[in-house]
Symmetry: C2
Subunit: 361 residues, 2 copies
């Protein structure tokens, strides 16, 4: 996601600015937390480390788009950085609640907050007490970061209308992400029928909205861009977001766990209803896959067998074709808005799309 | 909590105004929810019924205090109602996450949101899938209501300073409530040592702050009251809040489940570390109580035995004396602020304190 031309600021400067803002947002709260004893303090310390260890995909997208769109000389850049950083907090809040819901203890090859709390709790008398304690930490930290995100949006010193516009965006984003999460869980729990259409809708809601649409729309609003520009970027961004999510599913199932850093085979073990599975279910190979799907004790050899079946039945290829479709739609939207969207802003997204190729993590 | 004098508006009018505001806040979102399918729509429908079925303790405290403090002729009354209603949403968000954390399915004698979702899910293939689905609904609805609370606070059309003051209050409240919840869970899971002092601190953080301090401080800020008045009310309110929480513990353990509407003996079954238990632990009766404490399969006869032991060892009386102490401190604070706090505002709290006597639910 390197901006290739026209931006006055390098990627490194942007990362530093976002990191400084996040350090401030988390540091202020971590310092207040010490009033409430060692366990509350520890919660903030772990969360702070994890937040600052992120890749800042969403804040960078917002800032690079803002810098590409903003035409004036001073503008709302400081506010944009504060909103960008708070979107990273929102991302982490969603991850925490997602990890609680999925029972995950690892993210990107390292213990997540829940895994860290569990390891530190050690042996305690009540059965499952340590896991309960750790998952409670995940719920509560997610709540506090969801609150922190709103605090940043609420405190911006902007004209009333623009502030309301950002608050609308945040509200829409949370609604849609939560609806996507509920669909995802409903699919996994067997409450919602695993139709391909439902699965694709879920991917869009759960990930594309907050990862692409929110930063792009916020950047456009803060830069004072026309609504047509905002809409073209957001629509293109949604297609790209769906492509990324579908590729995530491919990586989780077929990729190298050493590189993508997730629990290996966790999607298969959890019985996650992905587009891969939706396709496989419509093929003659399904009776050979189904007994292994959603089996918590799935071992490596069984998982390898399922992966081969998923490739052989054409599910891997099918999802690759879905990704290609989304990229085509992405290109079409950007092409048809060529006269409206400034080249630098287009380049931010085109560079991002370029990262899909050869992605391993 | 009837205002006995000076208020221009009756309790019924206040309830109607709060109900109307809550209907608007929930209705707008329930209507957006229909875009995302039947399960998301259902989540909002159940939450809407539950929110509107509440007793509005916190919003009423805010509005009665506001009306008692406000001296002018127009003021921020509409904003006060919006903030009051959003504090009810915050309360419900906390309850939802608390119920998820405690594994509770019943509240006030009726299925809570999780219990309703569980009952409606019916039989599904995945073991524990229905409970997982229902608890996920509790986490997600809590998130959305936490977001909705912040949206109300963020959108108020007030002078910048006053808006920031309310946002500070909300931030402080959430921090303290979450710290209290974490302490409570740490006590239950055996992570935190069950000292009486810790338990009392936990009660203050977890309940008194958002139930008493937040509505009282928000009312004072909105009414433009002196900070000395705000502080006296908030300090008195914290003592009262602690008294209510201690009485809640007494009711849960010794009260009639038909009247208080909770899972009977759930505190004993869950091994909840209350002031009652902290005292009992220091007596010679503890070896006879301990084997039953925190036993999930505790039956009615065993629970009756434990309750008798808790009375006989003096734990019930001890907690009654703690309540009396808090009420004394409450009266002392109000008395020493007599020249500053208007009589009507004092009466709101005094009437509320009166409800402690003979409380059954």
């Amino acid at each position: 996601m390197t901006v290739t031309s026209g931006s006055l600021r390098s990627r490194t400067d942007l990362c530093t600015a976002i990191e400084t803002e996040l350090t401030g947002l988390m540091g202020k709260r971590a310092s207040v937390a010490t009033t409430y004893g060692p366990d509350f303090t520890r919660l903030w310390a772990i969360a702070g480390e994890n937040v600052l260890g992120g890749k800042f995909v969403r804040p960078l997208l917002l800032m690079e788009t803002y810098d590409a769109l903003y035409q004036g000389s001073s503008g709302q850049r400081e506010t944009a950085i504060s909103i960008a950083a708070s979107i990273e907090l929102l991302h982490y809040a969603f991850l925490l609640h997602d990890d609680v819901i999925d029972g995950d203890l690892v993210r990107r090859g390292h213990p997540n907050l829940i895994g860290s709390l569990l390891a530190e709790a050690g042996e305690i008398p009540r059965p499952d007490g340590a896991l309960h304690w750790a998952q409670t930490g995940g719920i509560l930290m997610g709540d506090m970061l969801l609150a922190a995100t709103h605090q940043s949006f609420a405190r911006v010193d902007l004209p009333h209308e623009l502030r309301l516009r950002l608050l609308d965006l945040l509200e829409h984003t949370i609604n849609e992400t939560v609806a996507g999460e509920q669909l995802d869980v409903g699919l996994g729990d067997g409450i919602v029928a695993p139709e391909l259409e439902t699965i694709l809708m879920m991917c869009g809601y759960k990930t594309a909205t907050y990862t692409f649409e929110l930063p792009l729309r916020a950047a456009a609003a803060l830069a004072g861009a026309d609504f047509a520009v905002e809409n073209a970027l957001a629509t293109a961004g949604r297609h790209l977001g769906l492509a990324f999510q579908l590729q995530d599913d491919l990586l989780s199932t077929f990729g190298d766990p050493q590189r993508h850093g997730k629990d290996p085979y966790s999607d298969l073990r959890e019985g996650k209803q992905t587009a891969i599975i939706a396709h496989a279910r419509s093929t003659a190979s399904w009776p050979d896959i189904e007994p292994f799907f959603g089996r918590p004790e799935l071992n490596g050899a069984e998982a390898d067998h399922v992966r081969r079946q998923l490739t052989d039945c054409g599910a891997e290829k099918f999802v690759q074709s879905l990704i290609a479709e989304q990229l085509q739609a992405f290109n079409d939207v950007l092409a048809s808005a060529e006269s409206q969207v400034p080249p630098n802003a287009r380049n931010v997204l085109v560079d991002l799309a370029g990262q899909l190729e050869g992605r391993q993590s």
